[in-house]
């Protein structure tokens, strides 16, 4: 039987000493939602680092505290992204790239860090990069989708014309996003980091 079938917490737990009147049911109505006592909440367990796919509308967090400039290393085969500290980045020239990591979210509520390319140090302009940055900037205000246009060597940026509700951002700091995205050794902060050693052909 259901001995552990406990009553909701907001009702009295005294044994009845007076018979309740079933003709006055308001006296024993449950207030609130007993299911809340079970205590289930959605936990943010994964923050992928990626650019938006060509099929999703996304928003970027408009708060500057939810973005950060960083140098990243992308292992395309393993589909892994690492943050590389500046002191170490020089060891693998050409493998890293400077980006702005922006907190972003799609309509399904999936949070990700969007690496938006920074201008190259030599000042060279690339349409891929400028249109990419343009998309990320617009995404702070509107739902946007970006699609590679190979003939123009640039991204086409589409803004949703329909009214779509504002995103529901997870209630965490940007540091927490970074911790989830780059925990488990995804920060390359020393030259003997296994990923660096592998790239340098030392293992």
């Amino acid at each position: 039987m259901t001995s552990e079938n406990l009553p909701p917490q907001d009702i009295d737990i005294d044994k009845p000493n007076v018979a309740p009147n079933p003709f006055d049911p308001a006296r024993f109505a449950i207030k609130g939602n007993p299911a809340e006592a079970v205590g289930v909440r959605r936990v943010l367990v994964q923050v992928p680092v990626r650019k938006p796919t060509k099929q999703e509308f996304v928003r970027a967090h408009p708060d500057p505290q939810y973005q950060m400039q960083a140098t990243i290393l992308e292992l395309h085969v393993a589909k892994e992204t690492y943050v590389v500290v500046p002191e170490v980045a020089g060891a693998i020239p050409g493998e890293t790239r400077p980006v702005t990591l922006k907190a972003a979210i799609n309509r399904q509520g999936t949070l990700f860090l969007w690496p938006v390319p920074l201008p190259t140090p030599d000042g060279r302009t690339m349409a891929w990069h400028t249109t990419h940055r343009d998309a990320a900037e617009r995404a702070e205000e509107k739902w946007v989708r970006m699609v590679a246009n190979m003939s123009a060597s640039a991204y086409d940026v589409f803004e949703a014309s329909a009214e779509i509700a504002e995103p529901d951002w997870p209630n965490h700091t940007f540091s927490k996003f970074l911790e989830i995205a780059f925990g488990n050794g995804r920060v390359i902060d020393r030259e003997d980091h296994p990923v660096l050693q592998e790239l340098l052909g030392r293992m």
Binding site: T2, P8, A19, P22, F23, F28, E36
Partner: protein
């Protein structure tokens, strides 16, 4: 003191009477009491009364006031006997059936939900099922019974009462965990009295037409095939030919869902969904449905021309009534409802709560945007506006298509339907259904957080409760289904709203013929129907307020039918007219 006597320390009543009747109940008829046994469980006082003794009394031979607890198993049967005897109903009813259902809802029981099943669950002794059946057969034979048989029937009745006496001490600790818990039990007992009252009233049926339908049913079915199948060519005699249906679909250019085996899916749910997307399918679906009604005379109609069957309260997990589909006039064949006809000088009214499930979802989740949408009177167009798919001021008339699409989504999400199912049901492209579903989540975030919380709590083995304490807890043998958990609060609180209204309505003296999902069928003399509708409308609103809380109420819709008109459900009107048009022809042929 016998083994059935107990102190029952947690039941705050002066007397606790376990009561059982044996009675005769022909299909569609009212109960005719054969005997009654009552046992006061603290003192052991025993009362055994045969049929003649019962009819000699004008009230129960024990106190039925608020200081006395009346204990029964499936109390609507006992209260039906009270009604037959003209006795006032007990004021405090504890039904161990409803409480056994409450304690085990969501869990597989050892041996069902009958008294024998409950006794088995607690490891208590009982008489054998075979012996029980023999005695039931003897009683249903209707008598007259010999002296020995009368004693045997009383002994059998007493054995059930003593079984109640053994069961109650086992269940008492569960039922009295708190004053609230006992209150919920007594409220359910109160509803069982309302059930007895509604079963007593029954639904008025046009028995002449039913008789004609029954006499000619086979010929009518052939006539329907001949007439409707002209447009499809899928029948051979009475047989539906799949290969011919395939050919029809190819010709009509209709894509049809298939089973994993590759065969066409021919379930009624598929036909229903396809009929929405392809109106040409509607008559064929109705025909298939009518042909599945092989025995119209299963409809339980008493000699007084009223449809009566067990309403089977608390049978489903949501505690909704679950009467037999074939015995109850409000079964799935909606065209048959045309048989409902008020008696001369009378009227019937069908009252229901507008979009009850949406109101419950909005109020209990605390989603103000959803409630605001409901309060406009058209939650579908309200969703379209709130989700940015229609401009402010849009109406069902100006944005009919948008509203229909939104309606499919708003209703579908209550059932946890996937975008694919919604698309199939509403004739939408799956991508559009996906987008609408997403917009629903974005527009009503508070509702979704609440709904997800309920599903998670249920899946974790927590107990979900309605406003007045109907629980569900997935336990042994449960089929954990997140979709039904998502829908459970709306359905079960809706059932609770209905129960509260039935209680108040029947106790006020209104003649409620039957509860139908989220509606009640009311009957009254023609010159009083308007007053009674007004009265019942107030009761329905009050019941909705009790469940929704915070002074929120549901809107009420009313349909009235005056004699000599008959009730009709718009979904079955075409079929009804078709059957009626064939009926005289068939009669003519028979006459020749």
């Amino acid at each position: 003191m016998g083994s059935e006597m107990s102190a029952l320390p947690n039941l705050p009543f002066r007397e606790v009477w376990a009561v059982d009747f044996e009675f005769i109940a022909p299909p569609g008829g009212r109960p005719d009491p054969a005997c009654m046994v009552a046992l006061e469980l603290r003192t052991g006082r025993l009362i055994r009364l045969g049929r003649n003794d019962l009819h000699a009394l004008s009230q129960a031979p024990f106190d039925t006031g608020p200081q006395t607890l009346f204990v029964a198993y499936f109390a609507s049967a006992e209260i039906g006997c009270f009604l037959a005897l003209g006795w006032p109903s007990p004021e405090r009813i504890l039904d161990l059936f409803t409480e056994f259902r409450a304690e085990t809802n969501g869990t597989q029981t050892l041996a069902g939900n009958s008294l024998l099943g409950a006794l088995a669950q607690f490891g208590l002794p009982s008489i054998g099922g075979e012996e029980k059946q023999d005695m039931r057969d003897l009683i249903m034979g209707g008598g007259p019974w010999s002296r020995d048989e009368q004693v045997a029937i009383l002994d059998y009745c007493e054995s059930d009462v003593r079984a109640l006496g053994r069961l109650l001490p086992e269940m008492e600790p569960m039922i009295t965990t708190s004053s609230h818990r006992l209150g919920w039990a007594l409220l359910r007992g109160r509803y069982m009295a309302a059930v007895a009252s509604m079963e007593w009233n029954g639904v008025p049926i046009d028995t002449d037409t039913l008789h004609h339908l029954n006499l000619n049913w086979e010929s009518l079915q052939l006539g329907l095939i001949e007439e409707i199948d002209q447009a499809y060519g899928v029948y051979e005699g009475r047989s539906f030919r799949i290969e011919k249906f395939e050919a029809f679909l190819t010709k009509a250019n209709i894509a049809w869902p298939r089973l994993d085996t590759g065969r066409l899916a021919l379930g009624d749910d598929v036909f229903r969904a396809q009929a929405k997307a392809h109106p040409i399918i509607v008559p064929l679906r109705e025909l298939r449905h009518a042909l599945s009604e092989l025995r119209l005379n299963n409809l339980a109609v008493g000699t007084d021309g009223r449809n009566r069957t067990l309403l089977s309260p608390f049978k489903s997990k949501t505690a909704r009534n679950q009467p037999s589909n074939s015995k109850f006039i409000f079964g799935p064949s909606v065209w048959l409802r045309g048989l409902i006809k008020p008696e001369m000088g009378h009227s019937v009214a069908y009252l229901d709560w507008s979009s009850q499930e949406i109101a419950i979802a909005a109020a209990l989740s605390g989603d103000d945007a959803m409630w605001k949408g409901y309060a406009t009177g058209d939650p579908y167009i309200a969703f379209a506006i709130q989700a940015g798919m229609a401009p402010e001021g849009a109406t069902a008339r100006t944005h009919k298509d948008t509203r229909n699409r939104c309606k499919a989504i708003v209703l579908g999400v209550q059932y946890g339907m996937s975008a694919k199912s919604m698309a199939l049901n509403a004739g939408l492209h799956e991508a559009e259904a996906r987008d609408l579903l997403l917009r629903h989540r974005e527009t009503y975030r508070t509702f979704w957080a609440w709904a997800d919380q309920n599903v998670n709590a249920g899946l974790m083995g927590g107990t979900l409760y309605t406003r007045f304490g109907w629980p569900i807890r997935l336990g042994f043998g449960a089929n954990a289904n997140s979709r039904s958990l998502l829908n459970w609060p709306m359905q079960s609180n809706g059932a609770e709203m209905m129960r509260l209204a039935c209680c108040e309505g029947t106790e006020t003296g209104l003649k409620i013929c039957a509860p139908i999902h989220d509606a009640l069928l009311l009957e009254a003399p023609r010159d009083r129907i308007d007053d009674h509708i007004l009265q019942l409308t107030g009761i329905l609103q009050h019941a909705s307020e009790l469940v929704l809380g915070d002074g929120r109420t549901c809107g009420i819709d009313v349909d009235v039918v005056h004699y000599p008109d008959r009730y009709s459900d718009e979904r079955g009107e075409v079929m009804w007219d078709r059957v009626m048009s064939l009926l005289p022809e068939v009669n003519d042929v028979l006459a020749i």
